[in-house]
Amino acid sequence: MSSHTLTKVAAPEDAVPSRIVPRRRTGQWTAAGLVLILLGLAVNSVARNEAFQWDVVGDYFTSASVLRGLGLTLWLTGLVMALGFALGALLAAGRLSGNPVLRAVSWGYVWLFRSMPILVQLLFWFNIGALYPTLFGVKTVNLLGPVTVAIIGLTLHEAAYAAEVVRGGILSVDRGQIEAAEALGLSRWRRWWKIVLPQAMRSIVPPAGNMLIGTLKGTSIISVIAVQDLLYSVQLVYHRTYQVIPLLMVATLWYIIVTSVLSVGQYYVERHYGRGSERAR
């Protein structure tokens, strides 16, 4: 056979080779070198360009008004995410329920609030006083301040998207899981809370992390209704001092820092919900 012809060539090939040499990855190293050079050039240009005014960035980076704006951006993002996903989970449950009325209502909600640009919606809520001058016997303008309008508008918008994210997660859970839970006599609530949702979370977390980061930066849109978030805080400063670029850099750096922290958090949340999904090694 062929092994005979092979062994005839050189006897040492019978012995076990002393080691295995991986293929050289020249392309990878070249690409890495190029990227490093470009990165160095970019950093050098940004750091040495005096128009960035890094000293001004330093001055305002931890100033009281910027930190207040950052604080508002953070709690608003958290609140909108929590309310949006709570409402979104209800909408998703409605969409998947056996009740045709609930299905239609949920579908209609998602259709309406995904169709409306968030900017239009915020301006609409901001001017709702023109449509309904009084609500519950109180002047609408007093009842719905800019921050309340921001919470309502962003939450309603967020919920429409969260509903689809949660629905997708639930659909990813094997039908047999629900049958097994039913066969064991688990109540509807228990099936949902203990069996379906934890498994759905694996598919919900990545898009939800995306939405959280999107919302963090998306809240900057409320500067149009004069809510003093991170972006609006730096805008107030540069309208006074005309140091537009360094102050935008202040906001940008803060957005990058918070996004980085959230991304690390997402990794751990994903790992938590991924438990039991890996095979033994």
Partner: protein, 275 residues
Amino acid sequence: MSAPTTPAAGTGTATDGTADGPAAPMVDVRAVHKSFGSLEVLKGVDLEVRAGEVTVILGPSGSGKSTLLRTINHLEKVDQGWISVDGSLVGYRRSGDKLYELREREILKQRTRIGFVFQNFNLFPHLTVLDNIVEAPVSALKRSRKDVTEAARRLLDRVGLADKADAYPKQLSGGQQQRVAIARALALEPRLLLFDEPTSALDPELVGEVLDVIKDLAHQGTTMIVVTHEIGFAREVADTVVFMDDGRIVEQGAPGDVLDAPKHERTRAFLSKVL
């Protein structure tokens, strides 16, 4: 069709066979019809299973045997006829000549008395083996977690997996997963166990360990209905073998009769292919 008589309401459940006269059947299926859309899957099935007996249902795929099994714990609703388990109607309440579907909570309570083992195990992948078993007795039967955990460990010992309590299902072989699924069903102390092709998803070398557990249960007098393709298992364990084809029970009887001297042509044709 005429409504068959249902068991009298409120009668005690003398199904252990110690009472005088013939005991009422543990499972009583009468004239059950079931369609999926325009496809009629069950075309009038009657079946009786006595307490402590093992019934094995054989038949080609598409014959309706899995659907029949699923109607017995109301995973599928019947279109006509009725099913009773341990003296009470499954999924319905009778009033006059009508059957009214029960509320979900009552159906769930009935299901806790009927164990179901799936072809694909359907263990909860995000819970450990122990939590898979403990979940239903704690949340559906409101037992104390401590007692249930002790019982669960005994069950795991019984199916030979005492050392796997803290593993996740995906870390186990198919045969081990199915043994956990059996332990999970047993944890509710059901009056009846239903097996839906319990070994069909297993690699050939893992079939034996699962069948051994089921045989063990059979020898201890557990009432069970097993849908399977394992003819050898049917011959060894079954008290009654039921052969189904095209939505009907074609013939039934002792394994020796049905498997070795089938009366019906379709039974012969099926057995000649699988034996």
